[in-house]
């Protein structure tokens, strides 16, 4: 997906433009996860970053444009690099997901996005891209052992347990919760004849 907020002049690799984009989008994500959707306005971004409103409007003519690009930054949160040990890899990837929730407010940003995506098709695309990218590593790891509905459900079981814990219980999962979640799923996989 190409960002809609490409600068209208210069090139995307111009270091000043790269810097402006990074500053403003970082501030936008911070506002979104700390104060909510409505706080992400050109005026708040200008006062928070020191750039003029005119500059910010040049990069992102609408609120939707800046929100979209701010959210797409979540696609860059690092994933675990698989090593070939399934248990360690699943725990590593879930630990990376936790870091995204703790350091970038990933769970809150996704919940807000899910709400807004119901009425904004463009944001539904952003949600789908982020969720599909976010779950990609887990899905690939589990695809060595599961397929079909079980693969889809197993993927959602891992991400969903941690997301639900963080969002609805207000508890970013600790190491024990992550390991227990992975181990329960692996026990089911090891027992696949007993359903």
């Amino acid at each position: 997906m190409t960002p809609v907020g490409d600068p209208p002049h210069g090139t995307a690799t111009d270091p000043r433009i790269t810097r402006t984009r990074k500053d403003v989008l970082g501030a936008a994500l911070g506002l979104l996860t700390s104060q909510g959707w409505d706080a992400v306005t050109h005026a708040n971004l200008a006062s928070g970053t020191g750039y003029s409103k005119a500059t910010i409007y040049k990069h992102w003519p609408t609120r939707t444009a800046v929100l979209r690009d701010a959210l797409l930054q979540l696609d860059d949160i690092p994933h675990h690099r698989p090593t070939g040990d399934l248990r360690a890899d699943l725990i590593g990837e879930m630990t990376a997901f936790r870091a995204g929730m703790r350091d970038y407010g990933l769970d809150r940003a996704m919940a807000v996005l899910a709400e807004q995506a119901r009425s904004w098709d463009e944001l539904a695309e952003v949600r789908d891209e982020l969720v599909s990218g976010g779950d990609r590593v887990v899905r690939e790891l589990l695809a060595t052992r599961l397929s079909g509905t079980e693969l889809s459900v197993g993927t959602k079981m891992l991400s969903g347990t941690l997301f639900y814990s963080a969002l609805m219980y207000g508890q970013v999962p600790d190491d024990e919760v992550i390991a227990t979640t992975v181990d329960i799923l692996l026990r089911a996989i090891a027992n696949d004849g007993a359903a």
Copy 2:
């Protein structure tokens, strides 16, 4: 938790008052799940229900009061009544959870509540009460087979998978997804020596 919006006159069992409360709180929940948090105002509730703003203010002096009581209605969504067959009971309870998402926008209401609860202590209490009540039947069912962290994680795996599917994939889970989620967890439970 006692509703804060108790009527300032009459009794809670006065049928006219009961009717007013039901109408307004139903409208509030509808606005919340269809148009979001900011749409739930005394003015919108008055125009949506035909009651005067003054009447609505008499019952709920603040937006927080009406939002709180509207959300607490979700506590009344029916649960499955356990029969003693663990698999059927877990599937039954997850099917009731799905009905809550489909018929009352439970997933969206909870996501909005989770966001708002971060800055409003009173709403954090509402969230905790709803989540704890919502997961109670699942937890009791699983407590016959799991304990400690496994019980807590197993509970979140079931609810979390369905919640994550509905909210982040935009797919209210179908019967196959519900049965597969339950069966994966039951396979893990049947294999509890193999972790």
